[in-house]
Symmetry: C2
Subunit: 284 residues, 2 copies
């Protein structure tokens, strides 16, 4: 049998993964959630037809969304994670014994249920005693919060469907307020190549830059996202991800990571010229 899952990256380009079996499919109140078992990528989580993560390459995404901030400020104690229902971001955070509290706000409880059952490799630390799960709208959750978190991670889908409000100026402004003095915001910042992704990349960066004194963008290579070239935003009230990187401190922790290291931490902020130019554009 030939069974293939295909994702159209644009109308004119698509990526396909051979499927052994569709192990889960559910329409939640928010979105369609599917899990496939595949030869090439192990388990694959698909939401509304778009690959969210695969068992084989999720380490790249989760290393880069967590460790860059943690190596910049090893004093981070209180973390807010928005989205990330698969649990991978929380898994990486729980590796730091210095973190005291992780509030995770996921709008769709069905994603967490599916992940606990089918994606134990990411969901495995959701029961850590420091983790508080809130099945709420992250946009509302941050409203009115002040000076509470050392790190806010916006682990969102693309800005369509439930993820849309996580790309607004008001939301980023509330994140700013929710952060402590040394606070850091890390956000899923889309991709520079295909036009629709590049547009959202520019818009998110422009908004965040208008609020945070420090706002940079860093890249990672992930095989199963369109073009393989994706970005996270790093914004803060003062800490610089390169000048304040505490290389010795992070390396002394002895954390074993498959993608992240303190060299690629620095290297990831060196962007191609065409990406740098797009991020510097003032246009909408």
């Amino acid at each position: 049998m030939e069974l293939w899952f295909s994702e159209k990256h644009t109308e004119n380009a698509k990526f396909s993964i051979r499927v052994k079996e569709q192990v889960y499919s559910e329409q939640s109140p928010f979105q369609k959630i599917d899990v496939f078992e595949t030869e090439e990528y192990g388990k694959v989580l698909v939401i509304d037809g778009i690959v969210m993560l695969t068992e084989r390459d999720e380490f790249i995404y989760h290393d880069m969304i967590v460790h860059v901030a943690m190596a910049t400020n090893p004093e981070i104690k209180k973390v807010l994670v928005i989205g990330a229902g698969d649990g991978g971001t929380v898994r990486e955070l729980t590796r730091y014994s210095t973190i005291e509290k992780i509030d995770m706000v996921e709008i769709d409880e069905v994603v967490v249920k599916a992940s606990r059952e089918f994606l134990p490799f990411t969901a495995c630390k959701l029961d850590d005693p420091r983790v508080n799960l809130y099945f709420e709208d992250g946009i509302k959750f941050v409203e009115g919060k002040e000076n509470l978190y050392d790190l806010v991670i916006v682990d969102s889908t693309d800005p369509i469907g439930p993820g849309e409000g996580l790309f607004t100026t008001e939301f980023y402004r509330n994140c700013y307020k929710a952060l402590t003095e040394k606070g850091i915001l890390v956000n899923q910042n889309e991709s520079p190549y295909y036009a629709h992704n590049a547009r959202e990349m520019k818009r998110a960066h422009r908004k965040i830059k208008s609020i945070f004194p420090i706002s940079k963008v860093y890249q990672y290579h992930i095989p199963t996202y369109p073009t393989g070239h994706w970005l996270f935003g790093f914004a803060s009230k003062g800490l610089d991800p390169i000048k304040d990187l505490n290389t010795d401190k992070w390396n002394s922790l002895g954390l074993k990571t498959k993608y992240y290291n303190t060299d690629i931490h620095v290297g990831a902020f060196a962007l191609p010229t065409y990406v740098r130019d797009m991020l510097e554009e003032d246009t909408n």
Copy 2:
């Protein structure tokens, strides 16, 4: 009409580009050569079913195969290019007025003919007076050459078919001999993610490392190659791509590049931990 070109990146993953028209198809004595006109990527050159380059993202490959070496040693005057029948590598080299001579050795004249006709955006500088075209086997061409080139670029296909001999120890040893005292070798060094590419990545690096005192690997993001994460090797008789990088000198040239800049030059050598580990393995 729906017409799609598909490339199997592995038996279980494939990438497809919608085709407007197949504008060229020929079986040369060495390989099958096709050119497609596409909406997403403009003209696409395919050899034996594998994407070699596209009009839209070839700038990434050609920036990175040329400018890293040129910024490390701005004194490069004599260059040997092996493969690269599309002309893109030569195009970037001819931008340096300081280069006096470019020998380009392409085994398959049909690739050059097709590129001149359908890919003028890469083939446009093949008639530069400094360029000498040899339609010969690059492996034989370097045999017996001594102390002749400041830079050798191995712009090869994967190590199957005509490209296979360009991945042997003997060939790399002949490149070493063909280089001058400050000589640099840049080679297409495959990709770390899929097993068959990773195997060739490790083998090429191990062989080159056994011959050259300095041997490093650097990465670039290219949408139309499998996983988007590909590598070049940088080897030399003494020059270090980071310590000897002449940032001011290169920037003073005023070359406009869409991907390369002297920041990403340095950043590209910062590899993910799993890639670094694979390259350090001693196994075959």
